[in-house]
Amino acid sequence: MNNSEINLKKIEERLSELEQKVRMQDARTAISDLMGRYVFYYSAGAGERIVDELWTKSEDASLEYGASARYENLWKIKTFYFKDPVPGKLNTLALSSPMLSVSDDETRAHGLWTAFGTETDAGDLGGSMPGEFDGRRVLLSSHTEDGRSYRAEILLQKYDVMFIHEEGAWKILHLHVGEFFRCPYDRDWVLYAKERFETDGMWLESLFEAPMEFPPVAHGENLPSGSSTWHWQYTMDAIPELFPKLLPGDEKKI
């Protein structure tokens, strides 16, 4: 091999490296764009578009929210997103810059975001007052002086997301929403840490209630597919821990 051939080979290798870097950067941009759309749709109550446009079509999909445990299969994931609009209800979400890694074969990616969210239900103050036995009522954690109830909660969370490259585009394969805390806007998360235990279970179950028919295999129930994989929320005895244990990029070290 003469000098020209050696130089050409070096240039080709360098070009290949740069092309891979560009593809990785494209992947990061595409995934950031995907999560940007996620936030936009989520905050607009457009859950069906999240499932249709942003989630995989694979039945390997899974979603875990706080201590809800893992909901597997697409029909269970739809129950999280498919909701009838209720006047005065609004959930919003804002994401930080991600910790993000793309697999060497560019078929998988793993991202971790810190998220700030709000959950709102005007309750007794709104156009769709819940009845005495409506499940919404127990989640109304703020109260006016004259005894009317509503929900205006803030949440600090983390979004741990696995992506799959499917039919030329990145899609969500697994989503695990972890928690730091939630509390009513007019209270703080230390004072509310214990009080929320009373409604945590009802809150988690309400997240997976949906106005849709379940498949026969469900026998009328929408139960998690197994135990929680990890969960940490602020309590007055809790010590912060590294969750999730596997950070983006750690997969390459295993």
């Binding site: 706080g66 201590a67 809800s68 445990a69 005495e132 036995f133 409506d134 499940g135 009522r137 127990v138 840490a193 929320r196 235990f197 009373e198 945590d200 279970g201 009802m202 988690l204 179950e205 998690p224 197994g226 135990s227 929680s228 990890w230 969960h231 929320q233 602020y234 309590t235 809790a238």
Partner: protein, 348 residues
């Protein structure tokens, strides 16, 4: 002079349809008229059990979260004759959806098992009935395809029985060490549901098909249980869907009652020599979906949690005829799921 005579009934509920947790109901011993006298907040009370002195109530928290952890749990309460439940404390169950809780006759130990993860926990009890953190946590086999347990209870004070969905088996452990003593694997992969112990016999019921397996307890003799009978709840001629929920034995060991949800019925069995069951009748219940029921300690009344029709129904038990009698009484309670009944209380 007796002013009032009643049974204090505790009803655990699923946390839906406006439920307020655990309801205390006074049932008039003469008229069977029920009255809700108190409620205590608790999430998804899938199982309730009273201590033998009626002074403490233990409730399984059948949820995915307990005190901020991804866990189920158990709560202990001090009971009062006015119906008020005073919370003593709660402990994690080391597995989610804690579906069954039991307490031993000596009031020294409590047990809880978990539908998810298939684990169970053994708790030592303080003198006042508080639960200490779990002393023993038993996990299912690592290679089990479906890790789930459904029912737990004490046997003879020294042993713990569990219904394992993971192994489709009834398994016996030592209560002090957690050592696995013996097991019975049910043939043809039925869905095992629950069991009761009465004297020397253990009655294990399948949810589907609706069979009851009767075992003789030979644990002290040779660490074994011996199958002596298998009998259908609805009878061999029944062709419909099977989904039993609970079986109970009267304290004197004369009758066994078994609930069947699709037909809203209770089958009454006489318990004969050798613990063998003989079907007496199938009694229709006024309501839909008996999720649980219990019998008063004197064997006089039966209270059923009719989950779908959001009510409890109360009927008299006629031990001589081995039947439920009368049309009974009812009261509305949202999604009732578990029942415990005190002794008859008389106020003079």
């Amino acid at each position: 002079m007796i002013f009032k005579s009643f049974y204090q009934v505790y009803i655990g509920t699923n946390s839906v349809r406006g439920s307020k947790g655990i309801y205390t109901v006074h049932v008039d011993a003469d008229t069977l008229e029920p009255e809700i006298v108190s409620t205590a907040q608790n999430f998804n009370t899938g199982s309730l059990t009273l201590s033998t002195d009626d002074g403490r109530l233990y409730a399984a928290v059948e949820g995915m979260t307990f005190d901020g952890y991804a866990d189920g749990g158990v709560r202990s309460y001090r009971t009062h004759e006015n119906g008020i439940l005073e919370v003593l404390n709660g402990q994690r169950a080391n597995g989610q959806r804690t579906c069954c809780v039991a307490v031993d006759d000596t009031l020294k130990y409590a047990y809880a098992c978990n539908f998810y993860r298939g684990s169970f926990s053994v708790y030592d009890l303080e003198a006042d009935g508080r639960l200490k953190p779990a002393r023993l946590v038993i996990e299912p086999p690592a290679d089990a395809r479906w890790k789930a347990l459904h029912c737990i209870g004490q046997i003879d004070g020294e042993y713990i029985g569990v219904i394992s969905l993971a192994e489709c088996a009834f398994i016996v452990y030592r209560a002090d060490t957690g050592e696995r003593v013996t097991s019975y694997e049910f043939p043809d992969q039925p869905f095992p549901r629950c069991f009761e112990v009465s004297g020397k016999y253990i009655y294990v019921m399948m949810q589907s098909p609706d069979d009851i397996y009767v075992f003789e307890n030979c644990l002290r003799e040779n660490r074994q249980i011996r199958l002596v009978q298998k009998i259908s709840v609805m009878g061999e001629d029944y062709q419909g869907m099977c989904a039993t929920s609970m079986l109970r034995v009267t304290d004197d060991g004369h009758l066994l009652l078994a609930a069947h949800r699709p037909t809203n019925s209770l089958t009454v069995f006489r318990i004969g020599d050798g613990g063998l069951l003989e079907q007496s009748c199938v009694a229709k219940l006024p309501g839909e979906t008996p999720r649980d029921f219990n019998i008063s300690r004197d064997g006089k009344i039966m209270v059923a949690a009719m989950q779908k029709s959001n009510e409890i129904c109360i009927l008299r038990v006629d031990e001589e005829k081995a039947a439920l009698i009368g049309s009974g009484t009812k009261i509305h309670i949202p999604s009732p799921a578990s029942v415990a009944i005190s002794r008859r209380i008389s106020i003079e």
